[in-house]
Symmetry: C3
Subunit: 273 residues, 3 copies
């Protein structure tokens, strides 16, 4: 099943509209290309709706939100809803400032999301207004472990039910859930956290997956999360003792480029709870 | 002839002012350095004219245009015209939104360009208001092939005559033409289209070439296009079965860095029609 | 001593707020992670002070300053001063436009900096309003050589005394000084100047060092400068005849990732004057 999700991206080559941050935007564009889709970035109010219209899906990432791009997020999000296009929210740093938290909350109110992807602290902030985000990284206190996995999965399902979105909480263990089912995913490598924007890249790629698989959002998101994590594992096998986070970043995108549906099916490590 | 165009870049080290998009800006800066020139990025109205004045040439790329950078494009373009500096336009996504199409048209009216570089759909949009841009990639229906090459070359020459600019239409076959002569260039590799911003990078590098060779704009543009395409070929020879688009991106810029006039003369594949 | 500066970054993992340019922002984020700290980028007025408050240090880089980010620089700078957080200024291109020069001067008036890092032309512009910046690179006329080293070191000490900041003038020979002591550092490799943003990266990493070592700003800056230069040397040993500036960029960040306090102590080349 997960393999066919990737296959559909490569077959349909969806065009993905990204309103995203300028820190990781180049990596987001390259990973969208690596998985077989095509990116366009456009964040001015004057063209946001029009660009959304010619695309198949929309990725909203608040990583460097500002007074000029925030209105474009709402315009594009509503247009995508109107057209029935999949929309993803990456609430980068929600909890770290009022502007981020409140913008994310308002987006949740006014736009229907197909998927919301963040770390556990960001998702907790969205769900409850608590969470203890430390900058753009998850707080240690919020960490998902084998011990609290069932409890967190239940929380994620609940939030999925409430929002109608597939929720992807990523970290050492990833949880991807709709209101009924939760994929607990154990792909990935700890070194991925030493690269800026692996989360943003995953969100961009996930948007391509949900756009190419409109009938199966849960499996599409799970497939994207497994693809990223397994790419991180394969890429890590190439890391020599002179390599560091910069080369590793390239190797991960390379591994996505070379991922086949068959490889993904064999490499994906998950159970459904 | 093409070799000396590159040689002149390395000898004169021109400073190039870029008003460009934030997706590929880092690669644009690095490829300008790779070919021997020096980049500066500045897009605020308050300094656009002044930065243009201390530079030798200007690269205007509308890839993530917005209400604050558009006025700077006009200010810098007019200042460059006033000073007799070469100016290049990369009409990224012209045809994909009114904002892009109309900004590009207005730039053509108010600024005299030395070179306009785009894919065939973007150039058709500029020339005729038709074209069928799909996001930032050329549409299949517009594709340049051996069969329609003479017809497209005639169209490109006509548009060059009308605008007074050297026109570079890049794709599987590249056409670089002024009103009289068209270089049909067959360098490059299909994998280049899996990297974000090879077009933007080429535009940035081309600006360095026309700045260093003010007396020979047609040959300067042809040399830049051959340099990029041949670098794409050389870089592809390094690609291992673990490498993908991210490593390939680095290898192309590396190949430009290592390109000599002699290599370029031997590797350039073109005929003049 | 310098080794422990790096060790303290790795131990305390400081969160660094960056208001920086979009050209090199991704490399800045990755090098901050490479040295063991954590980056956050946020430049909207509505969140600048709040993000500064949750961070340990602030990096202000004027590389693509604009009318919306300039106010955020002042707001964040003043908040950091109020909280006693270390603040670094990278006056990219000061001298190249009135906007840059005057913004840098005004920042110096209204914000107390722990460190100011630039090339010799930028620092001369800050100190005296003269300097002959050519774009974002130092002018040849300003170059630091063995002959003028004592004279330049005296000038740098003087400026450090005047501003109360540690001044880092980087180039072929680096000078890091407070009012009393000047480290003259001879790490680095000439090929580093063919990469965009090694200066920006150093500023970002230096902010992490001064944040992790609040009691020893001079040694912290000297350690960051040695780390960058020595990483440039180690990275250059990996450069093959096919590699160019793009791969070299990755290798430098990789080398920072792999740098240990012990390696740094052995590799640092400096004398104190």
């Amino acid at each position: 099943m997960l393999g066919s999700m990737l296959e559909n991206v490569r077959k349909s080559c969806p065009l993905v509209h990204n309103i995203t941050n300028y820190v990781t935007v180049n990596d987001c564009a390259n990973i969208i290309l690596a998985c077989g889709a095509s990116p366009i970035m456009a964040d001015d109010e004057a063209e946001a709706a029009e660009i959304t219209s010619i695309c198949g899906g929309l990725n909203i990432n608040i990583g460097t939100l500002n007074s000029h791009t925030i209105p474009s997020m709402f315009i594009a999000g509503k247009k995508a809803n109107e057209l029935g296009h999949p929309v993803l929210l990456d609430p980068v740093g929600a909890g770290a400032s009022k502007l981020r938290t409140e913008t994310a909350w308002k987006l949740l109110e006014e736009v229907r999301f197909t998927c919301i992807r963040g770390n556990i602290s960001e998702i907790k902030t969205l769900a409850s207004g608590s969470g203890t985000t430390k900058g753009v990284d998850a707080d240690a206190a919020d960490k998902v472990t084998e011990e609290n996995l069932d409890k967190v999965a239940a929380f994620v399902k609940e939030f999925a039910k409430k929002t109608g979105a597939v929720i992807a909480v990523t970290g050492a263990i990833d949880i991807v859930a709709d209101g009924e089912k939760a994929y607990c995913i154990r792909n990935g490598h700890p070194m991925m956290s030493s690269i800026t924007g692996t989360g943003c890249q995953l969100s961009a790629m996930t948007t391509a997956f949900i756009t190419a698989n409109p009938e199966h959002p849960l499996e599409a998101v799970a497939a994207a999360v497994c693809t990223m994590g397994y790419a991180g594992e394969l890429a890590h096998e190439r890391v020599t003792d002179k390599d560091g986070n910069s080369s590793y970043r390239n190797y991960i995108i390379d591994a996505v480029y070379n991922m086949t549906p068959d490889m993904l099916m064999k490499g994906a490590k998950y159970e459904v709870r």
